[in-house]
């Protein structure tokens, strides 16, 4: 196998787990396979592995029930927060991009906190449900922004980066979820209760879209998984290996 071909095979094999990568690359070298056959072998194994992961319900749950709808809602919240900030600080008014258009600084801070908390919790849930298919969930979470918002983006004077304010906390949450970082029941409850109280407060000020209530679910999911009986299940369950 020549140098360039071997580099391609090694790159493709990075999609495999470490031990499996070692064994497969060693087998290919030992068998003195041609570059093309080696690539086919590695891609074939990667495809089988990925297909196997999707037999479980968790990747579907993470991608299509959490990542896709959450990112759709969070994209709108990101723009709404940006619009409120521009209105309060730079006195620029953008129509239709916030619930009332009357929010003050306190509600802006509340929205910023909620945006970070919603994004982080959603990212954590996606990462912990299915770390080996997280790249699919990541692609799905960019889908609403790219497909729906870019072509119809009506706010020329507002940077399109405002669509992605949710991304950083979501990535941080997903990283922690993928590492299976344990969240204590106390921390999870504190987060969920704070989010709930702030949402009720914003709702009572008519500064929350009704669809945003769906974003409360990941925070309470964290409470459910941090519950003592839930923790036993987590260590024994293969769900975090999916």
């Amino acid at each position: 196998m020549n140098g360039i071909a071997w580099v391609l095979v090694e790159l493709a094999s990075r999609l495999l787990e470490h031990d499996e990568r070692e064994a497969v690359l060693g087998d290919l070298l030992e068998s003195n396979e041609s570059a093309g056959q080696g690539l086919l072998d590695v891609f074939g194994l990667v495809l089988r592995r990925q297909a196997g992961l999707w037999r479980d319900f968790r990747p579907w749950l993470a991608g299509f029930v959490v990542a896709l709808p959450s990112s759709y809602l969070l994209t709108y919240v990101s723009v709404s927060v940006s619009c409120t900030y521009q209105r309060l600080v730079n006195h620029r008014v953008y129509d239709k991009w916030w619930p009332t258009g009357q929010e003050g600084f306190s509600l802006l801070l509340c929205h910023i906190f909620l945006l970070i908390a919603w994004s982080w919790a959603s990212g954590y849930v996606v990462g912990s449900l299915s770390r080996r298919t997280v790249w699919v969930s990541a692609a799905l979470s960019l889908f609403p922004s790219v497909i729906f918002c870019f072509p119809a983006y009506p706010l020329e004077s507002l940077s399109k980066l405002c669509l992605f304010l949710f991304l950083l906390p979501a990535i941080l949450g997903a990283r922690q979820g993928m590492r299976n970082t344990r969240i204590s029941l106390r921390s999870a409850s504190l987060l969920a209760l704070t989010v709930t109280v702030l949402m009720i407060s914003a709702w009572s000020s008519k500064a929350l879209w009704i669809s945003n209530w769906a974003l409360i679910l990941p925070a309470w999911y964290l409470v459910a998984t941090a519950w003592p009986s839930g923790q036993k299940g987590r260590t024994a369950s293969p769900m975090h290996l999916a």
Binding site: D19, E20, E22, A23, V24, L25, G26, D27, L28, L29, E30, S31, L40, D41, V42, G44, L45, L47, R48, R49, G52
Partner: protein, 109 residues
């Protein structure tokens, strides 16, 4: 009951004894059946059989011939041997009296 490829893999691993690992099992299957055995089929089947408790794997030593990469060593468990024997017995029973078996032993009708 085992599938055909699962039976081939277990039999090859038993035949290779202490030297049973990915490339060796693949060579054994290809030499015996005359068919190509893909890495994907081999390793996903090894995982499936390990999950069923029919074999165990561990990472073995690395050799210069393999570019310093470790082997995935395979050992068939007693449950695996029992399952393979069950498959063989079933194939033998179901094949009794069929034409190609009769032809092979020289009793063609």
């Amino acid at each position: 009951m085992l599938g055909e490829f699962e039976y081939l893999l277990i039999t090859a691993a038993v035949r290779l004894e202490e030297n049973a690992y990915g490339a060796a099992i693949r060579d054994e299957i290809e030499a015996t059946t005359g068919r190509r055995c893909s890495m994907g089929a081999l390793y996903t089947t090894i995982d499936r059989l390990e999950a069923k408790g029919l074999l165990k794997t561990r990472m073995g030593e690395a050799t210069p011939q393999r570019g310093g990469r470790a082997k995935r060593m395979v050992r068939v468990t007693s449950t695996g041997v029992h399952a393979a024997k069950g498959f063989y017995d079933a194939v033998t029973r179901v094949s009794r009296g069929v034409s190609w078996v009769e032809n092979r032993i020289g009793n063609a009708s």
